[in-house]
Each structure stands twice: as C-alpha cells, then as structure tokens.
C-alpha cells in the first residue's frame, strides 16, 4: 500500500516534468494551423477533423533554412574540444590546490572563489575586448578559449580530490613515481564520478549557452545551436511554435544521450562533491 502510493506520487511528479516535454515533441510534428486548440492537445491531430496529422516538415525546415543543421555540427565540435580541454585545465589546477603546497596557495584560492560571484553579464564587454585583442573574435577559438576554465569546476574537483586518502598517493610518491604520474594513474581514475559531474554540467552549460556566442560570432556559418534556435524564437513574425519546438527537440537529443551514458557516474560523483567542505 505504502509502496503503491509512492509510485503514484512519482508518476504524478514525473507527469509535471514530462508533459511540457511531450508538448514540445507533439508541437514539433504539428501543422501550423493545428496548434491552437481550445482544449490542450498532446497529439498531433487535425484541428477540424480530429484525424492524425503528424508532419516532419518542421524538422526539414529548421535543419535547412533554419540553419540548425550547420549549427548542430558546430555545437558538437565546440563541445567536443571545449569540454575535455576545460576538464584538464580545471583538474590540474584543482589537484594543485588540493595536494601540492605552494606559497600563497590558499589566498589565491579564496580570490578565485570571489571571482565566481561577479555577475557574468557585466564581464561580457571587457571579455569581448580581450577576445578581440587575442585575435579570436568571430572564430571557433573565440568560443573555446574564453571558456577554457571554470572556478566552480575547480572548486568541485578540489573538494573531491581532498577526499581521496592521501596515503595512496604518498605510497606511490615514495615508490618513485612523479607527481604527474600519480595524478594520471591514481587520482584521475579514482575521480571518475566527479569528472562525470563536471563533464555533464559543463557540457549542459556550453551546449545551451546563448549570450557568449551571440556577441563573439558574426559569421552565420559558425553559429551554435542556441543561436540558431534564438533566430527561430525571436523571429519578427512572433516565432512559430512548431519550428521552435522542432529545433528544441533536436537540441535536446544529444543531451539525453550524454545523460544516459553518464547517469550512474553522475550520481556517484555528486555524492562526494562539494558537500564535505
């Protein structure tokens, strides 16, 4: 009885999560004139006859004219390079902050944390200046390099590294292994869960980031998915729900794929991160 009521509650809560999602899917395969119905309709049926009337035309449009095809490829490329590179930069720094004493280390760490709280929107223009000075404006590098590290990720990784028993590393160091070897062979393999968390959160962030690509890119050939999607949303004719939803559905597919791959690791990872500070 108790178990049954738990399942009922879960199904209801999941419905709240899933129904908007289903509406997105349904709208993405509807014809324009079938969208507005007095009674909300989660099935793609003809408004007048009530018959099944699904179409893939919307996908056709957004992938071609809408530019989502190109944008999709660009987004995949950016994330494929950026996410691992960022992970490496962050992990190296986090390891040093966790394990290797050097002068000024803890003060530096506090300064980094304070930097995390500056609202990103204010940094936009000065960051753009820097990116231009580095010659990376309107290029793929301009999407990658200005995002190559994250203080929050360094923080999360450091907290996790601190939980790894130091004896493991000390034993290896005494056996003559170098710091980098210890890092590669002992620390990173033990940190898979937290690496998974950082990977997925940074992937989610960059996959969906709109503002930075908007200001740093001019060339439509370089547009990323959120930019292309925004073109559909902010369209001067008011934005057509069926195109927006087709685009949004396309954008969400890779995220779900990544999520399924990393799901178990993420859960393990979060169990340790940041919570033992």
């Amino acid at each position: 009885m108790r178990r049954a009521s738990i399942y009922v509650a879960l199904v209801l809560l999941s419905a709240v999560s899933v129904v908007p999602f289903l509406w997105m899917l349904a709208t993405s395969v509807k014809h324009g004139q079938d969208i507005y119905t007095k009674v909300p309709n989660l099935l793609p049926t003809d408004r007048r006859t009530g018959e099944w009337a699904a179409t893939l035309e919307n996908y056709d449009y957004v992938l071609g004219v809408g530019g989502l095809g190109t944008a999709f490829v660009n987004s995949v490329w950016v994330c494929l390079i950026l996410v691992p590179a960022k992970l490496l930069v962050d992990a190296l720094a986090a390891y040093a902050f966790a394990r290797i004493p050097f002068p000024g280390r803890d003060k530096l760490f506090v300064v980094l944390l304070a930097g995390m709280m500056v609202p990103a929107i204010t940094l936009l223009i000065p960051r753009l200046h820097v990116t231009q000075a580095l010659g990376m404006f309107d290029s793929g590098w301009g999407l990658i390099v200005p995002n190559i590290a994250s203080v929050l990720d360094i923080f999360l990784l450091r907290q996790f590294f601190l939980t790894i028993p130091a004896e493991l590393e000390e034993a290896a160091l005494i056996d003559g292994a170098g710091r980098m070897r210890v890092f590669w062979r002992i620390v990173l393999p033990l940190s898979k869960p937290v690496l998974a968390v950082v990977t997925i959160t940074s992937f989610l962030f960059h996959w969906n980031d709109l503002v930075w690509p908007l200001v740093v890119l001019n060339d439509p050939e370089l547009y990323t998915l959120p930019l292309a999607l925004q073109q559909l949303v902010a369209s001067p004719d008011g934005g057509r729900a069926y195109y927006i939803m087709a685009g949004a559905t396309l954008a969400v597919i890779p995220v779900i794929a990544v999520l399924l791959v990393f799901q178990r690791r993420i859960l393990q990872g979060i169990a340790f991160t940041g919570l033992k500070a």
Partner: protein, 401 residues
C-alpha cells in the same frame, strides 16, 4: 594532457603579441559586411540573396557578407561590436538610434551626391537626420493599422466613438470574445501610443522647443480611450497567445509584417485592415529600418554604394517587402500584395516619426510604459499617470516645458 595546455599557451602567446586582432573585422580586401535583422520568411531570405548577387555581379571582385541577427538581440550585439571596434561596414539601424550614433560619431554622414534626396519619402528620410545632416538611408518604412475580424466586425470603425461602440457590441454578443486587443503598458504599447495621441490632434513632445506635451488633454483622451476599451476587452481574454488570430479578439493593431503570417497559420481567419480610428485627424506611427555606414569601415565608399543599391528605385520594392515594410524610395514598386496594403499606405501618408530625443527609448520603456499601465490597471487616472510621467520626463531630459 597537452591540448588544454597548448590552447592556454597559445592564448598567452597571442596576448603577448598584443592586440593585432585580425579575425573577420571590417575591411578585409573587397569584402563588405552588412548586418541586418534575420529574415522574416524563407522567401525574404531569397530576395536578399538575389539582391546581394546582383550587386556582386555589378561590382566584380566584391563580396557582400550578410550577417543576420535576431531583432531582439541586434542592439546588444551591435553595442558589443562597436565597443570592440569591430562593427560591420554597414548595417540596419533602429530609427531612434540614428541620432544617437550620429552625435557621437559612430556612423558616417551620407556623402554629398550619393542620392537624390527628393526621390525618397520625406518622413522616412527624415528619420536619418541629426543636427540637420543626413546619416543614413531608409531601407523601408512601415506603420501599424487596425486589423479587424470580418465575421465579428462587418465594417471597420473610423472614429473613436465608433471603435468603442463596435468593441462593446462584440463583447456583448459573446462574452468570451474581446472587442479589441488593447495595447498594454509595455515598450510596444508605449511605441504605439503616440499614433493615438496624434489622432486627437496632440503630440508627445515638441523637441525643437524642448517641451513635453503628453500631459496635455489630447494625450489624456488618447489614454482614456484605451482605458475605456478595456471594459469590453478583458485582459484575461486578450492576454492569451495570438488572441486576434484565434478569433478571441475582434480587432487588434499590428503591421504589414503580420499579414502573411496570419494567412499562413490561420487560413480560416477572414480579416481586413483599415487605417486607425481617430478623433480629430487621421494619424499613425512611422517605423521601419534605416541603413548606415559605420565610422570604422575601411570600405565606406563601397558600403554607401551598397546602401544606395538597396534603396534604389529598382531594388527598394523587393528589399522593403523582404523587411516587412514598404519602399522608402518614391519610384520603387510596391510588391503586389493583398488589399490590406491600401490601408497601410493610406496610414503611412499621415504617419508621424518618433520624437528625435536621444534618450527616447528609455523614456518610452521606463516612464511612459509604466504610466500607461498604471492607468490601464486603474491604479491612477489617465491624467494623473501622464502628469506624473511628464514631470519625470522633464526632469530626466532637463527640460522646463
């Protein structure tokens, strides 16, 4: 491990070399970069593509690069680009921004002899002036008019009284249908408001005499009209998505850009377009896109040539249609459309430009819009709301009148 480090090292090296930015800025050889709003429709995209190719054919060796940006994000992006000295060669510029950009030297003055000024609609051309000088060419012009549902409104109202009467009748006949989708106290509503004020013979400001006039009786009456209309047009109905298109509001105010969209998405809707009802004189708002050349352009001559090409008698008809408006060149052919166009053209003849006050966008959004809303929600009378807003505007602009 090397990739991330290599990238970081690269960044440092580049930083050390100092700011010789080369990525895609203006003026690489004979490439011309032109920023515009994104296409309204795929067809509009094809039109622009054809014009671009024609221009390249007429000017061998020249490449025109069209950068299309969502309208909502355009000014954000442009601000960033100008601040970073990476503005395009030329681009579309919102009418009220032209005077601002002109005054601080961000855009170039139109070279003498580029165009014959008398070949353009005066109202549209004037939106490009600042301090008596011309800083851009009007790409198109547009206006808003009254859309009405023919099933609910057999004949469009001409006067304010008729408007109120028709709206009341519609709502009385069916309580689930609103008489009119009354504008709200937001940026868009505040943008439309001056057209109504002019319809009562008033005006928002006298920018030459530095006087705020929207606390005068004409403006108060205009706002009172909207307040009165709400009685037969509950917001619970009109706040729905696309109330007019879905047949929930018998009338609305919108522009020519909406006509093809409605036809396509709501083929069953039988609607017409008429000039805005007025009290004492027909009036409306002028809107549209201006095109300018940025001071940082290294291809200014070519850029002006491109703008002249866009606004020429041959091309402006198609270009303006692609932008969702009407040609600004007197001789350009209006692209054939439905009967609605007559109403818009009629309206354009009596349309007024926005006040040429550099802070107008801020006044519009931050002062007038909230004032309209406070009257529309009954928190203040129309007079109180506008008196208060006018006082704030005077204070912000440093005007006495």
């Amino acid at each position: 491990m090397s990739r991330g480090v290599a990238v970081a090292v690269l960044a440092v090296t580049l930083a050390a070399c100092g700011g010789q930015g080369s990525g895609g800025g203006p003026g690489d050889g004979k490439t011309l970069t032109f920023w515009m709003y994104q296409d309204r429709t795929p067809q509009a995209g094809q039109v622009m593509e054809k014009v671009r190719k024609d221009f390249e054919k007429a000017n061998p060796g020249v490449t025109v690069k069209l950068v299309k940006i969502p309208k909502d994000d355009y000014n954000t992006k442009l601000g960033g680009a100008v601040a970073g000295k990476s503005a395009p060669d030329a681009g579309i510029l919102d009418q009220p921004l032209v005077s601002k950009y002109a005054l601080d030297g961000t855009i170039k003055e139109v070279p003498a002899g580029l165009i014959d000024e008398s070949a353009y609609y005066k109202g549209a051309l004037d939106t490009n002036r600042a301090g008596g000088k011309l800083y851009g060419l009007p790409a198109d012009q547009t206006t808003v008019a009254l859309f009405y549902n023919k099933k609910l409104v057999p004949a469009p109202p001409k006067s304010w009284d008729e408007l109120k009467q028709v709206a009341a009748q519609v709502h009385q006949a069916n309580a689930e249908v609103a008489g009119m989708n009354v504008p709200k106290g937001d940026g868009y509503g505040a943008w439309m408001f001056p057209g109504v004020v002019h319809g009562a013979g008033g005006q928002m400001v006298d920018d030459a005499g530095k006087k705020v006039l929207f606390d005068q009786p004409q403006a108060v009456e205009a706002l009172q009209l909207w307040v009165d209309l709400l009685k037969s047009s509950p917001r619970k109905i009109t706040d729905s998505d696309k109330p007019f298109e879905n047949g929930l509001a018998a009338m609305t105010i919108s522009g020519p850009w909406d006509v093809p969209t409605i036809r396509e998405q709501f083929p069953d809707l039988d609607f017409g377009v008429a000039p805005l009802p007025y009290k004492s004189e027909p009036a409306g708002n002028i809107g549209g896109e201006d095109s300018v050349v940025f001071s940082t352009s290294k291809n200014a001559d070519l850029a002006w040539k491109w703008l002249a090409f866009l606004t020429s008698a041959e091309n402006n008809g198609a270009v303006a249609d692609a932008f969702g408006g009407f040609p600004a060149h007197l001789k350009a052919q209006v692209v054939a459309g439905g009967p609605e166009q007559a109403a818009f053209l009629e309206q354009l003849k009596v349309a007024h430009a926005r006040p040429a006050v550099p802070q107008w966008i801020q006044v519009n959004d931050e002062i007038i819009a909230p004032a309209l809303e406070s009257a529309l929600t009954g928190k203040a009378t129309a007079q109180q709301a506008l008196t208060d807003a006018a006082a704030k505007t005077r204070s912000l602009l440093g005007w006495n009148g």
